[in-house]
């Protein structure tokens, strides 16, 4: 696949990562996160806000709060946007609702199923919980959610001719393995739900952000057949790559492939004797190394 960067300045074609955090919780432990205190310096959540939320929404809101708490200085998020990319969120609640629909008819359908378990629900929750007034959307929804979320985020932040959005949270969520449900919709395993929250801003060579995302568009046509499904665990591996790049403990890079051939690469910028170096992957195959 031939690729071309979306700007002639590698490392700036995309957006800077101003901050990030990862939150993961076993399903069995997730209840504790619903009512946990917010980190110091973060805005309080509305009362009982996460009580009925989907599991993805709970870890997503917690990841955004954790990332906020980790920022070097307070920021104004009033006009901040939200791009939320969950993978199959809402399945446990949907299963329960459908079994109730079957057992007791339409009267058994829970009213919050639509506002709490749709693709946009996670972004809705982050926007409402933190009172942000920039645009918010849900993206993806399936196994390509990480790639679609990264691509949409770069769209909104870097190419946002209509959005006016110069700061946005990207939140990607997934299970490490999908919950297995019995006939009543009750889980029979204890998977872990993970959220990565990244605060993104338009790339600016003058910024000293260590991490950025770089978009590379394909120049050749893709085949008629869909590529193989991305393997489960892709988000966990990407989270590890972000944390390794951020801490500098290992010089590594990572690329996420989109089904249409584009790639979004993590880029590490390092200051060496006054020069800003942009370290990008020498080969796309390196994206598997951190796994």
């Amino acid at each position: 696949m031939n690729l071309i960067a979306s700007s002639p300045f590698p490392g700036s074609a995309g957006c800077s990562i101003r901050g990030h955090a990862v939150v993961a919780s076993r399903l069995s432990s997730l209840a504790a996160l619903r009512d946990a205190a917010v980190p110091p310096g973060c805005p309080a959540l509305p009362p009982r806000f996460l009580r009925q939320s989907d599991e993805h929404t709970v870890v997503a809101v917690r990841a955004v709060l954790a990332a906020m708490a980790g920022l070097p200085e307070p920021m104004n998020f009033d006009r901040c946007g939200v791009i939320a990319a969950p993978c199959q969120a809402g399945r446990i609640a949907a299963a329960r609702s459908l079994t109730q629909l079957q057992a007791s008819g339409a009267g058994g359908v829970s009213p919050p199923i639509v506002p709490q378990c749709s693709l946009h629900s996670l972004g809705d929750a982050v926007s409402v919980a933190l009172g942000m007034h920039g645009p918010h959307i849900g993206v993806g929804g399936g196994p390509d959610a990480l790639a679609e979320g990264l691509f949409a985020a770069v769209s909104l932040v870097q190419g946002g001719t209509g959005s006016g959005c110069d700061l946005a949270w990207l939140v990607v969520t997934d299970w490490d393995t999908e919950p297995l449900l019995d006939a009543a919709g009750m889980p029979t395993n204890d998977p872990s739900c993970r959220a990565l929250a990244m605060l993104l801003a338009p790339a600016d060579p003058a910024d000293d952000d260590r991490l950025s995302l770089s978009l590379h568009m394909p120049t050749a046509a893709v085949g008629a057949a869909l590529p193989a499904d991305p393997p489960a665990g892709g988000l966990a591996a990407f989270c590890r790559a972000v944390e390794m790049c951020a801490t500098g403990s290992v010089l590594t890079s990572w690329a996420v492939s989109c089904p249409w051939g584009a790639e979004i690469r993590l880029v590490v910028r390092e200051q060496v004797e006054g020069l800003m170096l942009h370290r990008i992957p020498a080969a796309v195959s390196r994206r598997r190394e951190a796994a």
């Binding site: 399945r91 949907a94 629909l101 008819g105 339409a106 926007s127 409402v128 691509f151 999908e178 893709v222």
Partner: protein, 411 residues
């Protein structure tokens, strides 16, 4: 939110239109029905519970099979697809054919699908047919990728969701990809489906009208006797491309997607903010993005679904954004005829704006017998209003406080 200046960017125009709706599936048929004030609402079987209070909606009567050769499917194969895929594929293929676009699997054509609850719908339809996908561990690839492959679209393909504004956000994202030079053309829009769970859930939220004895008069935006919206299925898709590219290939230009404005209430998961400031900001941002002043707007297609709170909030937002020009600008809600297509609503109402531009007439709000004094606007009750229309604005507001305004301009 300050919208970026578009003056240095080339106009992005609409060269293809496709739709499925309760008011028809061809552009001319839909335009005729909108101007005639026909209702697509009728009694339906709402699902397993005969006691469900809402037993009417605006369904799509027949989904046309795509023309042979547009998606690689024979009519028999199309009939075997799930209804949601049929509802999306038919207008998508129609839009591509209308534009005369040769997709041919090149990487320079994109697809943005506005769809709010694909997995919920897919799991539900499977479950109601005896399936157990919702209980298992399958990780199903999303519909947008199947649609792209069927149509030979080889560029970026993404699903976006912003509740009732989903398909409008899809249009906004597609234009951004073109502006950024990532694609040469993009197919954008959205569609939605009626399902027992959606009807029951919205009904239990008290969001739906319960005027069961008179379905065709149930959808009555801005009316003093409104009691909720009427669910509908369908939507629309468009082909977007740069104006010079469209002219170079002698494509028919139906209009320009001139402005986009977006914001969030940041207040409640299911209720619009009673303070119109954030919705008004989206409208103002769209006008600024299009480079038009309020007095240049010739018609506003309101989101107005017929909910008691939402219509008042929107009237306030329109008045705040358009200021003194408000009283001279006709405003109507075509949901009075089409019902509310949820994910597909924004795109369908963009199509209604194109119809208003083509026919030089503002479509009416039917059933508007007694306008609510709290929704004081220049309404178009019952019958269309002939008028010079060059610039239109279309509002879409969704659950979770998503606000969107699109400005469409005559070519």
């Amino acid at each position: 939110m300050t919208p970026p200046d578009r003056s240095a960017l080339e106009p992005v125009v609409i060269t293809g239109v496709g739709a499925v709706s309760p008011l028809g599936c061809a552009f001319d048929e839909i335009a005729d029905n909108l101007l005639a004030g026909r209702s697509g609402v009728r009694a339906i079987n709402p699902g397993p519970d005969a006691g469900e209070p809402v037993q009417f909606a605006a369904p799509v009567a027949r989904i046309p099979s795509p023309l042979a050769g547009t998606c690689g499917l024979h009519p028999g194969e199309f009939e075997r697809l799930g209804r949601l895929e049929q509802l999306c594929l038919s207008p998508l293929a129609a839009a591509v054919a209308d534009a005369g676009l040769d997709c041919d699997r090149g990487p320079r054509i994109g697809l943005v699908l506005g769809l709010g609850a694909e997995h919920l719908t897919t799991w539900e339809l499977d479950f109601l047919e005896g399936g157990e996908r919702v209980l298992g561990d399958s990780r199903d690839r999303t519909l947008v990728h199947r649609l792209a492959r069927r149509l030979g679209i080889g560029g970026p393909a993404v699903t976006v969701a912003a509740a009732c504004a989903s398909s409008g956000y899809a249009m906004a994202m597609g234009r951004t990809w073109i502006d950024s030079g990532w694609v040469d053309a993009c197919v954008v829009g959205g569609c939605d489906i009626l399902s027992p769970t959606a009807i029951a859930a919205f009904s239990h939220l008290r969001a739906l009208s319960r005027r069961t004895d008179d379905p065709a008069r149930a959808s009555r935006p801005f009316d003093g006797d409104r009691d909720g919206f009427v669910m509908a299925e369908g939507g629309a898709f468009f082909v977007l491309e740069r104006q010079t590219a469209a002219r170079a290939r002698a494509a028919t230009i139906r209009g320009e997607l001139a402005g986009v404005g977006m914001s969030s209430d940041g207040q409640h998961l299911a209720m619009p903010s009673p303070d119109p400031v954030h919705a008004a900001r989206a409208i103002s941002a769209a006008l600024a993005n299009a480079g038009v002043a309020p007095e240049e707007i010739d018609y506003v297609n309101a989101h107005a679904a017929g909910t008691p709170v939402g219509d008042i909030a929107e009237a306030g937002a329109i008045r705040q954004a358009l200021g003194a020009a408000t009283d001279g600008i006709p405003v109507s809600s075509t949901k009075s005829m089409s019902g509310h297509m949820i994910s597909g609503a924004a795109a369908f109402e963009a199509l209604a704006c194109l119809a208003a531009i083509e026919r030089q007439a503002a479509p009416p709000t039917i059933n508007l017998d007694r306008p609510d004094v709290q929704c004081r606007l220049d309404h178009v009750p019952h019958v269309f209003r002939p008028r010079r229309i060059r610039v239109t604005a279309s509002n879409s507001f969704g659950f979770g406080g998503s606000n969107l305004c699109l400005v469409l301009r005559a070519a």
